[in-house]
Symmetry: C2
Subunit: 712 residues, 2 copies
């Protein structure tokens, strides 16, 4: 434990019983700042627009009869959606009350909360749609949503606190918030004390309630766990859920989600107990988490969909509006955060949002500074990580993501050494993400589908090697959680940017080393993606390396013969049962290329192997009786039986298709003569030609200082 951390914890201890004098509001909006925010709502376009939306939501709520249905649906169902609308309305009306001063908004919140207070205790401790009793909510099918509900509602209550008489406040506090906290901290104790994003929502709900209700007991439990030992609770979560680089082990999709309660609770702690310096806790871990979250996205805004992830999710999501506004306004974040705020098109109607909106209005925004960077994983930063290589402007960026992170708990995929590749605003080699139709009730109540386990998590669903048609760790999350890949090298600058990782545990007796690089060849406008994957074993194995591509194959160096009369699944387990095998062609020469047309550009992947390869084409959809899977296509480099195999590929981004003018340029790759000169434990040495000139790339596995070189 470092010194700063000790000091911070000491300060928290000293302050156990010394809460600030109670003021309302005092979370995102503060009594001190309210006048300025009111003025800003008429002055700065982003804030103006954001408040107009909040007020429109509030007015819409006011125009509808209050409805508090008995909870009975899964995600996306009518009662689920109604309770969600209710907490949104409470918060919107709370803000609208503070900005306009109109009592009708406060009255709505009061009536809503009294309504809940009159019913909440009647609802059973186990929701009818809950599958387990320890994760059940009372308002929603899972406790998580109840906590989210409380995080929102308690803020709304804080905002109208002074407009509710003390008798009604007492009813609300004793018959709603107190039993809610009891439910969270006792009935749902397991969730409350989990070091997990559900736990963060739970502690934020309880902690915020403690501050607003002036209940030190709640705050203390929130910070240090229900037994106040510090083994769980908010501070333990800050210690364990993020790596020193601010990476959240479940991956960017959940990082974004997890950030919101971290941020809101941090803001409340900072409001009530600024002396604790929560923003600087663990070397500014919160600010790092926000930056890492933003850096875990492509220029189109989408988060890298590693592990369970809904792929539409972008940095424009509401959680990151909180993150960006607070990081900029209160944590010293840079002016490039204003670029993100502009893309989000809104700010929180709050003290922080005011600063962001004002500075955007004053033209201070700079383009967001996407970086090549290594994001370490694990509480100590030594459990692998995510390597991100970028090249080109924000308008046409190549981006390679190399996943050598640890398993990522329950939402982790068996995707050791997986790569994702982006260019031209689009996915080139992609990750399926999660098998889930979120909030679509007809699809398993909006929950994860069985195919999330049978398909999306399996190794073959990723752009990484599968050994013997078996997933890493035989798809055992428990085993996978015990090991993490090793990062061999990361180089984020220069003519050759590279990241390299090793995985020794996923398949017994098989050592995997992958090195992926963006290589700049003089005279070429785009970098080449050079990917070297070595698999080594004492025994003979089948090695499959899929590339999940978007677009259409327009050219191959070898004849592809798709099956015409019958399709069969590519296997019977580990995800292969969900693939239709479309073709299986041996590439006699041992090397070749495949050209894919995607978003008006071409991608030619030249490949070679140390032993000859077959190229298999596969498409998603087998063993999917209930239409739970999305479409997807892969070409798979496959070696059916060898002990040592290197798969080399060089992918060139080239050409331009203008479908409106119907012109095509640069449809042919200018790379040729790909060759593996040497590949073993010590070194991989490859060469290729570009317009007649030969280039070599040499990787020295044992020399970290001189790991990879381009020889011109």
């Amino acid at each position: 434990m470092n010194y700063l951390k000790k000091v911070v914890i000491a300060i928290f201890c000293l302050n156990f019983s010394i809460l600030q004098a109670q003021e309302h509001p005092n979370i995102m909006l503060s009594k001190a700042g309210i006048e300025e925010v009111r003025e800003g709502c008429n002055k700065y376009p982003l804030l103006q627009k954001s408040f107009a939306q909040v007020k429109a939501d509030a007015d819409k709520a006011l125009g509808t009869k209050i409805s508090i249905p008995v909870p009975n649906d899964g995600g996306g169902g009518p009662s689920h959606e109604q309770h969600k609308r209710n907490y949104q309305a409470v918060l919107a009306c709370g803000i609208s009350y503070q900005i306009t001063g109109e009592i009708k908004y406060a009255d709505y919140v009061k009536d809503m909360l009294l309504g809940y207070a009159s019913q909440y205790e009647k609802w059973p401790l186990k929701h009818p749609k809950s599958k387990t009793s320890n994760q059940s909510g009372r308002i929603f099918w899972q406790i998580l949503n109840d906590c989210v509900w409380q995080v929102n509602v308690i803020q709304g209550y804080d905002l109208v606190y002074n407009a509710i008489n003390s008798r009604d406040r007492k009813i609300i506090e004793t018959r709603l918030f107190t039993p809610v906290v009891k439910f969270i901290t006792e009935t749902s104790k397991e969730t409350f004390n989990r070091i997990h994003n559900h736990g963060t929502w739970a502690v934020a709900a309880v902690g915020l309630t403690g501050y607003v209700m002036n209940k030190r007991e709640y705050v203390e439990m929130a910070l240090k766990g229900s037994d106040k030992s510090g083994k769980s609770g908010y501070l333990a979560q800050l210690d364990h859920l993020f790596s020193p680089d601010g990476y959240y082990t479940e991956g960017p999709y959940y990082q974004r989600y997890a950030l919101l309660p971290f941020m809101i609770f941090a803001k409340a702690i900072n409001q009530y107990e600024p002396q604790t310096g929560i923003y600087t806790y663990r070397n500014n871990i919160l600010e790092k988490a926000i930056n890492t979250s933003l850096q875990s996205s492509y220029t189109n805004g989408a988060f890298f969909p590693v592990n369970d992830a809904i792929k539409d999710k972008t940095i424009e999501s509401g959680e990151l509006v909180y993150g960006v506004d607070l990081a900029y306004a209160e944590m010293g974040g840079g002016a490039d955060l204003l670029d993100i705020a502009q893309r989000q098109g809104r700010v929180i109607v709050s003290d922080a949002g005011l600063k962001v909106a004002r500075d955007v209005a004053e033209g201070k925004a700079m383009p967001f500074n996407y970086k090549s960077l290594l994001i370490t994983d694990g509480p100590a930063g030594n459990e692998g990580g995510l390597g991100v290589l970028r090249s080109g402007s924000n308008k046409d960026q190549q981006c390679l993501v190399f996943k050598a992170a640890s398993q990522g708990m329950g939402h982790g995929h068996f995707d050791r050494l997986n790569i994702l590749y982006y260019d031209n605003g689009s996915e080139v080699f992609l990750d399926y993400g999660a098998a889930r139709f979120i909030n679509i009730e007809s699809k398993n109540d909006g929950e994860y589908l069985p195919e999330n386990k049978t398909w999306a998590k399996q190794t073959v669903a990723h752009n990484t090697i599968v050994v013997d048609k078996t997933s890493a760790f035989k798809a055992s999350a428990e085993r996978a959680q015990q090991y993490h890949p090793e990062l061999i090298c990361f180089k984020g600058e220069g003519d050759i940017q590279a990241v390299s990782g090793r995985e020794e545990n996923a398949w017994p007796g098989v050592s995997l080393v992958r090195t992926s690089a963006l290589v700049h060849i003089p005279g070429m406008s785009k970098a080449l993606l050079v990917d070297v994957f070595n698999a080594e074993s004492d025994k003979v194995h089948q090695y499959d390396l899929p590339f999940w591509y978007s677009g259409y194959i327009t050219d191959t160096s070898f004849p592809v013969r798709q099956y015409t009369k019958e399709l069969k699944p590519a296997g019977d387990k580990y995800g292969y049962q969900h693939l239709w095998l479309n073709s299986n062609d041996s590439v006699a020469s041992g090397s070749g290329y495949i050209t894919v047309m995607n978003n008006r550009r071409f991608y030619t992947t030249h490949f070679a192997g140390t032993s000859p390869v077959n190229v298999k084409l596969a498409s998603i959809g087998a063993n999917d009786p209930s239409l739970n899977l999305f479409n997807g296509k892969a070409f798979i480099l496959s070696q059916a039986g060898t002990a040592y195999q290197t798969f080399l590929s060089v992918t060139e981004s080239h050409g331009k298709i203008d479908p409106v003018a119907e012109t095509t340029t640069g449809a042919k790759s200018i790379v040729s003569a790909l060759r593996i000169i040497r590949s073993d434990r010590e070194q991989t040495n490859i060469s290729f030609d570009v317009e007649g000139k030969t280039y070599r790339v040499v990787i020295n596995y044992k020399d970290k200082n001189n790991f990879i070189q381009l020889i011109k």
Copy 2:
């Protein structure tokens, strides 16, 4: 022949030998207008930007060595693309010369043309990549491209005419343009005299050359065919290629393409012989053709892809920039054309473009007035047509296209009574378009693929009934060309917009009547698509009605059991051989629904049949060894054996998915209890409920005045 037409032809006859005094330039840019256009290039943003682009292209050309390769490639190949760049450069430099007055641009054109003049006659009359000798070009693989080349190059020549000395002009005219015209009018006589879009490019090339070179002979052949009889040539094309509504029988994709030479040549005729009133020929057929072209598009700009069509093509394409500018500036087109000009983001650097840019700059643009309208087909307007129904604002428009047009010559599909349906900026029920990777040389030299015949043209590739798994007219274009469907009714206004058509000839002994309607139910924000398809015969047939959808099925009223272990083609010919059959479920109740999630919205299609139906799911890809087909999915309503069958469907557009906020509303359809009360030759009478209230739709096939009614 109507009176006006007679007069116009008379005027052409009178003027045979009286050309205007030769002035240069005198096509898109005129000597009289040039000063104003020069000023406008510094004044009006659209013109400024457009000229900047032209000048950038010209400067780029000037920076590159002139290259005139020996023709040897198919579409997309290097020599093909070089010759294309050359004609573009000639035109760009010609314009740049006129606007800037800088002689370097004129010199470039002169050098380029002298270069061609020194080589053209050496090239063989049959291009090495040409498949037929009568359609071969000399510069390109097909004569069409040679004509396009000449249309561009002759304009460039006109623009720099005065800057070339008479000796060089003589070389260019005698050794390039004269042999080009000879090649087009003699070697390629068949194309030149075709009533077909290739013919239009040919006559425009020759006619423009005639005006610029002051060769009346050429103009005369261009207007009236190589024998000057008037049976072919430009005027005959204007008479026969467009319906009285300005519809071009090959369909919108080719209409756009065909329009360009029509427009440019019309403009030249009007410049040189304004007294002919070419713009008013055949009741303003040219202006109608432009309007019909624009009305044959959805709000996303894409043309309705009926018949052979590349689906990316939009109203932003260059051809329509000419069309829109001329229609607005010279043919009295409305201010809503300026909306299109704004979306095109450019104008022709020309007298017409000046007016458009000026009026856009002056804020005169109005939103484009998309209409519900019937576009008749056939030279006399009595060969069926395209019914277009629209509802909603340009931002969120529902649009139904009903194809009861005639076959459309060689590019026609066997798609009698096909429908296309759009909503929310997206395709809902779609047409495959053409099987072609245009300009992708590795895909059959960029030409139509064999699958265009075996798949894209076949009936099952469309949203219309297939009888006995056989395409209309057994896929004989010759037979299909002899018949057209009958339009029974078109109603483009009111609570119930509808179009109805009958096809009696596609399958012997089977009469098909389809009626599709957009029906507004009080209280619903979007119209319902009601579709009634009757098939009648003395004999028992299999009737299949596919709906090609985009998106993912999220719900069905009946259990769908996709095949899990094996896929087989759905048939062995007429396109079925290209479909994998994914499931085949009988719907015991005879009616049901399918919900599709597409672009953040849901589409629930309720269906019912007079006899029970099976629902088959199918996906494109079988019998595609060379990867020539795009993906696509359909649900097919199928009745295996009956004489009379009605397929009724009601498709509701509902709900909203916000993937960033992860919220879903209105995921359930509010339509229920769909029922066919009566369906026969006289009447179809159906009912359905919306939120408890029953509505009926009654179609009276024999009562055109009271054809369809909504009974509330």
